[in-house]
Symmetry: C2
Subunit: 281 residues, 2 copies
Amino acid sequence: MKIEKISSNRSFGGWHHRFTHTSAVLNCQMTFAIFLPPQVEAGANVPVLYWLSGLTCTDENFMQKAGAQKLAAELGIAIVCPDTSPRGEGVPDDAQGGWDFGLGAGFYVNATQAPWAVNYQMYDYVVTELPELIEANFPVTSKRAVSGHSMGGHGALVVGLRNPERYASISAFSPITNPINVPWGEKALGHYLGANIDSWKAYDACELVSKATQHLPILIDQGDADSFLAEQLTPQALTVAAAKAGYPLTLRMQSGYDHSYYFIASFVDDHLRFHAEYLNR
Amino acid sequence: MKIEKISSNRSFGGWHHRFTHTSAVLNCQMTFAIFLPPQVEAGANVPVLYWLSGLTCTDENFMQKAGAQKLAAELGIAIVCPDTSPRGEGVPDDAQGGWDFGLGAGFYVNATQAPWAVNYQMYDYVVTELPELIEANFPVTSKRAVSGHSMGGHGALVVGLRNPERYASISAFSPITNPINVPWGEKALGHYLGANIDSWKAYDACELVSKATQHLPILIDQGDADSFLAEQLTPQALTVAAAKAGYPLTLRMQSGYDHSYYFIASFVDDHLRFHAEYLNR
């Protein structure tokens, strides 16, 4: 699995690198970013936080805007940011030009429908291919945590809930908690997975929480001034499902905060400390 | 002086706002951003750090990428980010389409040459009009500090050195220290101020340091892997001029760091603490 470096920036005594590679599961060229904390240069292997970004984002948004590197450098945690969908000229996109489906909007599922299935296998990419690549190429341990924002918060919850043996902890900012019942989810899952709603449930955090037999620690932050809150994110659906299933999770409603990276930056240190507690066990 | 709000984001218990207003000195509509720390809501008046951005930037780059709000919220410092040039359809731009002159590249000077002089009065805007606007509209004190990056580092040095009574302290990341002797400066100052190099000297930190009678504290960080270091930034010109003039300043060469916001983010807390020491006197 060959990776090729695009760029490097010294950052908080560590390094921010961007790489490209050919993805076997996505059938295209992909870009990811990795922040390696200074402990790596001192010879340590470090655990990894995977960050899944939201609609329209790439590997760059979190690295540039979240302000996570300072504490990650202190705690000795690597951060990996994949892109949010397959990319490239041959990859199909929303014919209507929407930004909530297609390029930049892979929803972290394995598509089963034509023409999407050839490339849109983001679930396998994030859960398997990318971690294998990271662990083969960088001085990291196999301790992993997962977090994300909005569509990526949905991704983090789904990926973590379905693979409790692969992750130490899960967190999310403003996640789409119940995609099978909201417009963004209905559109994307309908295209990627087809009309049978039963097939969507494997990618719905509320459904997964209800069936979970192993309970990873989960921290969620949600701004109460988020314009997508009521229609798309519906955090109360998840807290109800979790309470019903006896799955302990922490959902914090943050007063006055919106859907932006200003919100993420304000609380990202809490998420890093939360993950560090489980990554360092 | 009327200002109109474009947007607001809750950030670290404070607020990030963007406003537009009609600038009398620039003869156009301008946008600026302000971060108000949480102390403001508790009734305090707070000092202000003015941040001057580099070539091609707007009010958004520092607010989104520097990660300064966390410590500014703790220290109780407001941050104001102006745009880097006049803007709008009627404002002249580099006819050759360059990004190092014209729109996004005002160089913080008062242009004297046609067609630039009508709008390109960024020195007066930053030193006088914008602070008056800020102090008339927000709960801030008249304690000010100034910092910036690259072209904006040049701006911070010039603005501070020429107005020691208006600022408590000056800092800069990767500043253009000697614009009268480097290609970026020669191009911009030649257009804005004309062929007489004597008129450029009022905007050259090396010249100003040599003539300074009052010594504000100055902190400069410069990455030694910055690709503009030798040709455009020339920090050694400033340290030589300062040593000759007996002007104490701190220049820190940071090993491995480049010209990006990853560099700024890595050291911005040091700059905030530096300014806080003088703003709170």
